[in-house]
Symmetry: C2
Subunit: 362 residues, 2 copies
């Protein structure tokens, strides 16, 4: 943690940032081990470039602050105090302020009113290059979360998770229970899209009952010891028709090629380009309607993004998803996703479950 | 929904708001039935005072938008477009803009850069007086969520949920499973604070094993058919010592009196004052370190807040928690919480579980 604070201070000096104001988003736990509650009572770490940091925290949550207390002083506020005024006083005359990305608008607007004529930027501008490169302990945490998710994906592919005759919402809840049983503290999402819904990448699992002869896209992940998992496997309930097999083989080849392309030094957009050009070559270009991937760590989605326009070269320790998909609206769709780490020895996939099209008869 | 849009437009006219920009927070589902995903791809409803609304949504999430499509037109954006530029173009020359309370800072700052020299306010300024008054269907939804939470609280008090020898985290996970089994789609929190941790109001359930002869504060809630539950009961593992019985009886009396005081026309702060003065009278004033309650509905915490300084009088349809607590740092604590609706016939508690101190021997 101390080394992280030092590196953040160096970045602040480099960028001329006078104070960091951290509330919601993973910058705060990454830097201090403390996570703000996502509630209407403001928690905010004020980290001036030139002074020790102060954690402004609701009095009733002050007993939660236990670890790394040497990194900041504590300023609990009672129910009739104004936390925005407290933050403004701590900021004082400092001019260039970086506020954490997910701070609620209501607090941003109140801070701007209390601190007029300042320059505001998102704290990710400061922290992203530091947080995106994972250290060995972080990669180990991502690996363990990936292994736990793999065990659930294996249960899905083997038919241990019944599909036919159950609703998407039931299967989603079942997957969530299994993620917890495999060691996840939190389930972040468990997308189950069946039949025509498999063509909706962020489908909300609902009351549709899964039938035989359908594509089922399952994309799920959660948090284990602070770090996230995220995996997608697509299965077919019964023997798949040749058309779907064709689509799937294009996808499988494109996903594997994109993983293989994720080498240190390769720009993020090139990894996207590899998947995209192969899917285009297979005749499905217009049906791959999202980027190829996103970084992952303390947050499910963070830098680096594997998307056209992102010329940033991959660095050792970058961890991200590779998840192309093909979606034929109203009919069916498929997606395959693994988490990959860029290393000096080449890309390392943190998921190891078979990526072939599994036929589930249950 | 149509009536809600009309009432919102009337409030906008009254307040001189030129456009509403709704992203995260419950204003969007309350108004349109659609809930934005809390991700880095911007979803935003642009509702100008003088024109039909447009929902700017990531292309891959457009298939999720199914209901109430007559209320807005859809503007899906692809991965290489800039959603902030799209919103800015829809806003045009409009000057006074209300952005939803939980919109991420990163989007607020980018919107402010794309739309310079505007007036910005939080959308809750527009929507709060409308959303705080629940209609009959909303109260019925809150009632059903409360009944489901009651069944879990009854299991806790009766000893069906084993406590002694389990960790707080295990009990928390068990309560979560039971909330789901009783019909909740989502568990929002399940605080379990045992022994000295019972004195930490927002304690994070951890690895502490619950022993005999301890206070255990359990505060849990989730979402059922869109509306939230929230209940707290405190139990003692074994016969409680007289000192704790004294503390608890002061608390129980104060909570009941505050519920009884929650009559239409009474200012919110008076309900808080009733609980606070009785706890002060019992000698525990300095140990009641938070407000008495918060509104509840689509969100766990929303207006009206039952807190000193809030002179707003209760109206029929206001729904809120009444949850005083007494916390002796390092030793023990207790809290009792019910959800209450203000009605013309007086306060109606939506939780009916016994509030006396339950002794749990398991």
């Amino acid at each position: 943690m101390h080394s992280r604070v030092e590196r953040v201070r160096a970045r602040m000096a480099e960028m001329g940032v006078d104070a960091l104001l951290l509330s919601l988003c993973a910058d705060l736990p990454w830097l201090t081990g403390y996570e703000a509650m996502p509630l209407e009572r403001l928690t905010m770490l004020v980290l001036p470039a030139d002074e020790v940091a102060t954690l402004v925290v609701p009095a009733l949550e002050a007993p939660r602050v236990k670890r790394h207390r040497e990194l900041f002083s504590l300023r609990p506020w009672s129910e009739t105090e104004d936390p925005v005024a407290i933050v403004a006083e701590l900021v004082g005359a400092r001019r260039r302020l970086a506020v954490s990305d997910r701070t609620w608008a209501t607090f941003v607007l109140r801070l701007q009113a209390a601190l007029p004529d300042r320059q505001w930027l998102a704290s990710s501008r400061v922290t992203t290059p530091l947080r995106a490169v994972k250290d060995a302990a972080e990669i180990e945490a991502l690996r363990r979360a990936g292994e736990a998710a793999d065990r659930v994906a294996t249960q899905l592919r083997s038919g241990d998770i019944p599909l036919i005759g159950r609703t998407e919402a039931e299967v989603s809840a079942d997957i969530g229970r299994r993620l917890r049983a495999e060691g996840h503290q939190r389930v972040n999402f468990a997308i189950v899209g069946s039949g025509p819904n498999s063509a909706s990448p962020h489908h909300e699992p609902g009351s549709r009952t899964i039938g035989p002869g359908e594509a089922v896209v399952c994309d799920f992940g959660g948090t284990m010891a602070g770090y996230c998992s995220d995996i997608t496997r697509t299965v077919f309930t019964g023997p798949p028709p040749p058309e779907f097999v064709d689509l799937y083989s294009v996808l499988e080849y494109a996903q594997a090629a994109a993983v293989a392309a994720a080498r240190v030094g390769t720009p993020c957009e090139e990894v996207d380009g590899v998947a995209r050009s192969l899917i285009e070559g297979g005749g499905f270009g217009e049906h791959f309607i999202h980027r190829t991937g996103h970084g992952i760590g303390l947050e499910e989605h963070e830098d680096p993004y594997i998307v056209a326009g992102n010329r940033q070269p991959l660095e050792p320790g970058h961890a991200f998803s590779v998840e192309p998909g093909i979606y034929l609206a109203g009919r069916w769709g498929a997606r395959i996703e693994d988490i990959v780490v860029a290393t000096e020895d080449g890309p390392e996939a943190l998921n190891a479950v078979d990526r072939g099209l599994a036929v589930v008869e249950a």
